[in-house]
Subunit: 199 residues, 2 copies
DNA sequence: CCACAAACGGACCGCGCGGTCAAGTTGTAG
DNA sequence: CTACAACTTGACCGCGCGGTCCGTTTGTGG
């Protein structure tokens, strides 16, 4: 185990500035925002970015991790909520809110992910599965829907909104509601295709 | 009205080869497939591509148009189907099938679209609205859902499947079924956000 | 206060992209 | 068959990107 050799004061500050700037830039312009722009926004040189994050992918992973970790925690907390269905719905709402266009290409490419990122992903998936299983047990979601299904659908509300020129910031709620209604047992029609291999 | 001055035989053939190659390439690798690769696949030089389509965007528009036109026709035909709900569902299935990952960024950016492309888009939107209105009148979809909602959700089934390493070719059907269940009136919960401005 | 490692910055590199062009090739009207 | 316009081609261009490197600056432990 290599313990990190403690950061210099300014370096630590710059690291935070970078994470913040990157998050904003990614939110506004998607993952293709250039490293140079992020550096400028953070008020540092481009070289500094690469000193902290050897690769753009590493920077993305760091930002995602920062956003995802509290989400996981919230999800785990929601496992104790009284209403299992409402808990899942709220989790999905938090996920959508947290992402706000940070369209997680993080989900795909489970391979070639920094080992710690892969671990975070693992935890995220596990908590989604748990929430879904619990909701299913309480007849709050249809029996034929799996955790993997929900993982795949998780980003959809944010994504569909993307097609609009400049979407109202809460419009995703509308589509989350529609999709979630599709997950409910009431009036569910049988699904025409088996679920994909578990994630 | 400028009538196109008729194409030379080989030019016409190459044009078709290009459209086919582009469609395949886009399907496999998304819209970022390079023009050079498309040219190679079609067995022509890169310059030829730009002779037929002044810009990569024009090529994309042409491919999309080629796919979308028959879809519109099918949609208009479905307006006469007996079961309005089933008609809408089948239309959405055709749309998803036709696209197969040709994730239509065509929907956004209604401006800066070649005028004929804009017109095609217009027709597509109109037929979706008609199908949805008719389905709503027959109580086959919930009353609070609009044509614009369906337009936005149209690509979702294909999109979500994208997160999987290599998805079964028909998996989108599963997610279309879920989303469509969310559009049905049975057990619908009120939507938390007003619909976006009509498209 | 000083010396030195740590951190910084920005010029620089190579690459792949969309798009251009001038020289060569080919279908076709007459 | 010929002559010419239509068409093809691939070398070429400029650009913006991710990533490198080294001369300079700066925080900090002794």
């Amino acid at each position: 185990m290599t313990s990190p050799p403690r950061l210099r004061a300014d370096a630590a500050r710059n690291r935070q500035l970078l994470l913040a700037a990157a998050a904003e830039e990614f939110a506004e312009r998607g993952l293709e925002a250039s490293v140079a722009d992020i550096a400028r926004r953070a008020g540092v040189g481009k070289g500094t970015v690469f000193r902290h994050f050897p690769t753009k992918d590493d920077l993305i992973a760091a930002v995602v991790q920062e956003r995802i970790t509290p989400l996981i925690a919230a999800g785990e907390r929601l496992l104790d909520a009284a209403d299992a269905g409402a808990a899942l719905l709220e989790f999905l709402a938090m996920a959508a809110q947290q992402q706000q266009q940070l369209d997680l290409s993080f989900l795909q490419g489970a391979d070639r992910l920094a080992p710690d990122a892969a671990q975070t992903q693992e935890r995220l998936f596990r908590v989604v599965h748990a929430l879904v299983d619990r909701a299913r047990d309480h007849d709050a979601v249809r029996p034929d829907v799996t955790g993997t299904d929900v993982i795949l659908l998780m980003c959809a509300p944010n994504h569909v909104v993307t097609y609009l020129p400049d979407p109202p910031p809460d419009l995703w709620r509308r589509y989350l509601a529609i999709i979630f209604d599709g997950l409910r047992p009431q009036g569910a029609h049988p699904l025409p295709h088996p679920p994909p291999r578990s994630m």
